[in-house]
């Protein structure tokens, strides 16, 4: 466990030194701040515009961090050949991958935390009261991003960084659309097409479950049981993807 934490710490230190991270963070905060300009163009809905734009920024910029840093975590070690010195020590490949995942997870948590703090303050300034529900929306976005981080790591264990980025972004798109698969299955096609659509629905990550922005901005009631199950689903799915990544990485030949 201590080896995993050491690698996680190293991965965290490595990622926070990455200049792209700061560019993304500054750009995200600027985008969240720019919602105050949009608000001046509207009549009504000022608070929700800030929250909607803020939560969308957190999702999109968190996605960029997860993808563009996640794809390089493993490939960079292979490219620089530092993986040989790492794996020659008593470190298992599984520990290496889990450590990398936790390190990037921590980086994501810190970045999302900064963006969420900015959004909370902005919403408070506009609405004159705290809206802690934003944190719930951000928490579930973090779970969604953990699944995508695991996916980026999985692809980076057997593919090039460019292809890994494309595949991970595609998983995000498919994951956000997977809820519609059921609708399409119900409306079109025969039994085999329906079965395929339903199979794909359960196989692919249903990322729309983690999108609570509608409920957060409109102050709609949320079922705690559904939230708990969604959190368990996200944790299990990320663990499953990371386990596949470990299985692939075990068979990887670095020569």
């Amino acid at each position: 466990m201590s080896r995993v934490l050491t690698i996680a710490n190293m991965a965290f230190t490595e990622t926070v030194r990455d200049k792209i991270l700061y560019s993304i963070l500054v750009f995200a905060l600027a985008m969240i701040g720019s919602s105050t300009i949009l608000v001046t163009l509207s009549v009504g809905g000022e608070g929700r515009i800030v929250k909607d734009l803020g939560l969308a920024c957190i999702t999109l910029f968190g996605l960029f961090i997860a993808v563009f840093i996640g794809i390089n975590l493993v490939s960079r070690e292979i490219e620089r050949r530092t993986i040989f010195s790492l794996l020659s020590k008593p470190v298992r490949r599984a520990e290496f991958l889990v450590g990398k995942f936790l390190g990037l997870g921590l980086t994501l948590a810190v970045n999302i935390g900064v963006m969420a703090a900015g959004l909370l303050v902005l919403a408070w300034v506009l609405e004159d009261h705290w809206t802690p529900r934003i944190l719930l929306g951000v928490g579930f976005t973090f779970l969604e991003l953990l699944i995508l981080t695991a996916t980026a790591i999985l692809f980076s264990t057997f593919s090039t960084p460019t292809l890994s980025a494309i595949y991970t972004l595609l998983v995000f798109v498919i994951g956000r659309l997977s809820a519609d698969l059921m609708t399409f299955a119900a409306q079109f096609g025969g039994a085999s097409l329906k079965a395929t659509a339903v199979g794909l629905y359960y196989l692919l990550p249903n990322l729309s479950r983690f999108n609570l922005s509608g409920a957060v901005v409109n102050d709609l009631p949320l079922d705690s049981g559904t939230l708990a199950l969604t959190a368990i689903y996200g944790t299990l799915y990320a663990a499953g993807i990371l386990s596949i990544a470990i299985a692939v990485f075990q068979r990887r030949d670095f020569r």
Binding site: S42, G45, R48, D52, A56, V173, N211, N218
Partner: protein, 245 residues
């Protein structure tokens, strides 16, 4: 150190190839940027002199648009709503008609059926544009999607009362409002007046005063101010001349 000393001691060549390239590059940059500035000014002048033709906006159906938005439907509804406000604001200043106002409001509220402000202000904009059936359709759509929000039946009752003078319908929608949590304190008073078929001018005045106090928007406050002034003038006239009594 001695090497660099020798280099420094050598007199600099005035037109070395590197120096020449640098000068030419800076010259091209200066000419290109000055040209861009001239063209930009020309474009700006054309934009000012060209008369703005009204642009028809294509409205995709929300159910088709929704999957393409990848879950960012709330944000899309917000942006549509901002566009609606700009459309309404630009046309009301020019005293123009609002042929696409309903489509704007309908799209914003279809993308996010819980967007209360879009129903409320959208219904009000449609009322100001005298598109009463469309305003009623928006309020009814909002009431169906948000059955526990008192604001929408309240505003629909106000539309029936102030604009259409359909008092039975106004009574019905304020009765609905009265049953909902958080409804304003004046609703029972309105119901009593409507049931007794008295005091319509006082009710109208109170409604416009509420709108004046609650709205942050100067255009809406101005409309309310004008209506309050008209009603106060009517109320100063002898009661016998008041047809509502």
């Amino acid at each position: 150190m001695s090497g660099s000393g020798r280099l420094n001691a050598r007199p600099p060549a005035r037109f070395s190839p590197q120096r020449l390239t640098q000068v030419v590059a800076l010259g091209i940059a200066g000419v290109a940027l000055a040209g861009a500035l001239v063209v930009s000014r020309g474009l700006q002048a054309r934009a000012v002199t060209r008369t703005e033709a009204p642009q028809a906006v294509f409205f995709p159906r929300a159910e088709i648009l929704r999957p393409a938005l990848l879950g960012f439907t709330g944000l899309a509804a917000d942006l549509t709503w901002i566009r609606t406000v700009q459309y309404f604001g630009s046309r009301i200043e020019g005293q123009e008609r609002f042929p696409q106002l309903y489509q704007f409001v309908d799209l914003a509220t279809s993308l996010d059926p819980y967007f209360l402000d879009a129903y409320q202000y959208g219904g009000l904009f449609l009322t100001i544009a005298r598109q009463y059936p469309n305003a009623i359709a928006i309020y009814r759509k909002g009431i169906a999607a948000n059955p526990l929000s008192w604001q929408l039946p309240h505003d629909l009752g106000r539309l029936y009362f102030l604009e259409l003078q359909d008092y039975p319908q106004a009574l019905h929608w304020w009765e609905v409002t009265d049953r909902l949590p958080g409804r304003p304190h004046y609703i029972p008073r309105f119901l009593i007046r409507l049931q007794a078929k008295i005091g319509h001018l006082e009710t109208a005045l109170e409604l416009w005063q509420q709108m004046y106090q609650q709205s942050d928007n100067e255009a809406i406050r101005e409309i309310a101010r004008r209506e309050i002034r008209n009603l106060q003038q009517q109320m100063r006239k002898p009661q016998a001349a008041d047809p509502n009594r």
